[in-house]
């Protein structure tokens, strides 16, 4: 969101659009990433799908991305529609607003999942069978919910303390479920591409397709599959084109399929073809973030906790207003990025890290956000004739 001042509360309620040259201009950022990553990588995927009948993949596309693509990059939607129509690209369901609603409001969470399913069906004509939560935030409750909601597959982090010596390279059954399958990210091999690919200080640099294929071959000795999950922006944005990340990906896919005993699965296909080997339990939330693999980057400090508490405290009143603009704005405020920018846990370590924020400080992020929530309250008050900026 843009810098939203206390003096704007009750006067104007545009929290997100900013036309300037900063990194707070969503349109500017979208165009930048579309040019560097979305467009070239989708082009590469489309080409590989045409050349390699055994190439498959799953994509998880948030509603927030789709909304922006519809505004600023409709060609990306068209490309996605073409590749999904091959039948070899699966769309995974998630919360429309890239939110952590599961941990605050089950009703809101389910509403956002339904919105996402509707949007995916509307654009691509498919009904997803796999689910992944924002930031891969997962626990047993989520798996049990997903099973009850009819999903066949759910995704999570293959975190060592949870696996306790078992391999991530197979299919598991979540604790307390009967039929749903759990696929776990092989974070070492995924991060070799996503984080380390261009790191010249890494002993394995440069990572070639041949070398990576050897590692995958080795990993498949432990189990029937390797789950490589990563940000789409790995290709072209986190790892720039000049690192030859696109060339690497093309060579890797072609090289992997050069032998008949190797293939690619979509996540649902993998879970159908491979039996669950064991039960995995994650009573506490595990995410794919940071060394802690927990939610501390989003809910770890008191600023984030306060902001999220106030955000979800107005749920009932916002929904009751029946004002679609208000409901949409409130839902955009649920995107996990907002609270991520309020994280203070990296301020003190002094180390250089990959933490990105468009704000000068987490305190600024909190300030703008709380002002927006106060404006949401003000709008609620206009509808419902109650409340105020303090309550």
């Amino acid at each position: 969101m843009r810098p939203y001042s206390v003096f704007e509360i009750g006067h104007q309620s545009h929290y997100f659009l900013l036309q300037n040259d900063t990194n707070l201009n969503n349109e500017k950022i979208f165009h930048k990433v579309a040019t560097k990553s979305y467009r070239p990588m989708l082009g590469m995927i489309e080409k590989l799908l045409a050349q390699q009948p055994e190439f498959r993949l799953s994509l998880s596309i948030s509603g927030v991305f789709i909304d922006q693509a519809e505004l600023w990059g409709n060609d990306l939607i068209e490309t996605l529609q073409r590749i999904v129509s091959t039948g070899r690209v699966e769309i995974v369901t998630e919360t429309y607003y890239h939110s952590l609603a599961f941990f605050y409001s089950r009703r809101e969470f389910e509403a956002q999942v339904a919105l996402h399913r509707d949007k995916i069906y509307q654009l691509f004509g498919v009904s997803p069978t796999a689910f992944r939560n924002t930031e891969l935030a997962y626990n047993n409750d989520l798996a049990q919910w997903a099973e009850a909601a009819g999903y066949q597959t759910i995704l999570a982090e293959g975190w060592d303390p949870v696996l306790a010596g078992r391999t991530p390279n197979t299919v598991y059954r979540p604790e307390g479920t009967e039929s749903i399958k759990l696929l776990l990210k092989n974070y070492r091999l995924s991060d070799d591409i996503a984080f380390r690919f261009s790191n010249r200080g890494w002993t394995e640099w440069p990572l070639t397709a041949t070398k990576f294929t050897d590692w995958l071959d080795h990993a498949t000795n432990e189990g029937p599959l390797v789950n490589l999950f990563m940000d789409f922006e790995t290709f072209g944005e986190h790892q720039w084109a000049d690192t030859d990340i696109f060339g690497f990906f093309e060579k890797f896919v072609n090289g992997w399929l050069a032998r008949d005993d190797r293939t690619f699965y979509t996540v649902t296909q993998a879970s159908r073809e491979i039996e669950a080997q064991d039960t995995v339990s994650m009573p506490h939330v595990v995410t794919w973030a940071d060394a802690e693999r927990d939610l501390s980057a989003w809910m770890g400090n008191s600023l984030q906790q306060e902001a999220l508490r106030h955000l979800y405290a107005v749920e009932h009143d916002v929904m009751r207003s029946g004002d679609n603009d208000l409901i949409r704005d409130w839902r955009y405020l649920q995107s996990s990025d907002h609270s991520y920018y309020m994280a203070t846990k990296w301020l003190d370590d002094g180390a250089v890290h990959s933490y990105f924020s468009p704000y000068e400080s987490p305190y600024d992020a909190f300030l703008y956000y709380m002002n927006a929530i106060r404006d949401v309250r003000w709008r609620v008050m206009k509808h419902n004739r109650l409340g105020g900026i303090d309550g």
Partner: protein, 406 residues
């Protein structure tokens, strides 16, 4: 070491910084002759030799705000009346003569001359001429900083220009100050090292907060008021008129604020008038000049400390506020903001942003607590030991040149 003041006879941060820097340098083995322009006792300075150049007690000197630059008229010290030991130029003249005498007599044979600000720059240049020792000019503030948004005194500008050019090495207390030295005095950036100040927490350990000093404010606090304080000289440099306007803006959105303006100076009447005109006179309190216990207690009673300077080379008081558990809001034009992350920053003229930050802190207990805790954890990592280490490195490099523009 050519300094202008040492605690307890200091009127501001310069004396505090010089004291701690010298102490840390001495602990690293430096042998220091510290020359002062007045005569007084300085307890706790036995780690160096303190020389008193002029037989005048500090209380007899010019007025408060002893870095006073506006009364400096004579460019040439020869034009100053011989008997004048109380005007700024008079004191400087005697100070230079004393330093000349010391080096000529052989009582002072420095390996390096470390001069602080325009006040002692002429003495530094003279000492360099006479001894050939390298001159390090330490810039705590330039005339541009002291003048706020005005131009300042041309005599002072000229002294600074000459000394910065003649120096072998320059130390700036922040990147902001370095930028001024480079851009406005035309000094090549490679001659200027940034050495941020630190804070000595031992200064505060023996101290206990006396809630009686500010009983009234404590009671307001217990009623849910947010106490916002600034402790400073009331000069244009400090940006207080902008702060006052921001205070009024903040009160439009939230009325349980108290603004504590601690200090004194030429802008006091203007600020009092402004508070009335803006309709917030009942929320703004002027304490007058405070020192000692009352001064420290202001930090403790404050929930939020604002440094509103138009141009603040460093701003040691912000670290003192951090030590006393205040949340900090610091203008982007203040150097201390370069070494702290758990703070709010704003441009000194941006009254709406400052008001926004004040309201945000007042409305959110977790924001106030996070800022306080965050900055308390980080300020203590700044140490005078590191400052001394960096100064020694600058000394080592100093003899390699023959003056910046030589």
């Amino acid at each position: 070491m050519l300094g202008w003041e040492l605690p307890p006879h200091n009127s501001g941060g310069l004396g505090v910084a010089c004291y701690h820097m010298s102490k840390a340098l001495a602990l690293k083995g430096a042998s220091i002759d510290f020359i002062l322009p007045y005569t007084a006792q300085h307890p706790g300075t036995d780690f160096m030799r303190v020389h008193c150049a002029i037989d005048v007690h500090p209380s007899e000197r010019f007025h408060l705000g002893s870095y006073d630059h506006e009364g400096a008229y004579e460019r040439d010290l020869d034009d100053v009346a011989p008997g004048d030991v109380k005007s700024m130029r008079g004191v400087q003249k005697h100070y230079v003569r004393y330093v000349e005498k010391m080096v000529r007599s052989g009582n002072l044979q420095p390996d390096v001359i470390h001069a602080h600000d325009w006040l002692t720059m002429e003495a530094g240049m003279r000492a360099k001429e006479l001894t050939g020792a390298p001159l390090v000019v330490h810039v705590h503030a330039t005339e541009f900083d002291r003048s706020g948004e005005r131009y300042g005194n041309p005599v002072v500008h000229e002294i600074e220009q000459q000394a910065l050019q003649m120096a072998d090495r320059i130390i700036a207390v922040s990147n902001i100050t370095k930028a001024i030295i480079v851009e406005r005095y035309g000094i090549p950036a490679e001659y200027v090292e940034v050495v941020h100040n630190a804070i000595d927490v031992d200064d505060f350990t023996a101290y206990e907060y006396d809630s009686r000093d500010y009983r009234y404010f404590e009671s307001l606090r217990s009623e849910g008021y947010t106490i916002v304080a600034t402790i400073t000289r009331f000069t244009v440099q400090k940006g207080l008129t902008h702060f006052m306007r921001a205070a009024a803006r903040a009160c439009e959105k939230y009325d349980r604020f108290v603004f504590l303006f601690a200090g004194d100076g030429e802008q006091r009447d203007e600020l009092i008038r402004m508070a009335a005109e803006l309709g917030i006179a009942d929320k703004v309190y002027f304490t007058g000049f405070v020192r000692g216990k009352q001064w420290r207690d202001i930090y403790t009673v404050a929930d939020v400390f604002v440094m509103s300077s138009v141009s603040e080379p460093f701003g040691l008081t912000a670290l003192e506020a951090a030590h006393h558990d205040s949340a900090l809001i610091i203008s982007r034009q203040s150097g201390v903001g370069e070494v702290l992350k758990n703070i709010f920053r704003y441009d000194f003229w941006d009254t709406d942003t400052l008001a926004d930050q004040l309201v945000a802190i007042a409305l959110s207990p977790s924001l106030a607590a996070s800022l306080r805790k965050g900055v308390r954890d980080e300020y203590a990592k700044l140490s005078w030991n590191d400052v001394a280490q960096k100064c020694l490195r600058v000394y080592d490099k100093a003899p390699l040149t023959q003056g910046v523009l030589a």
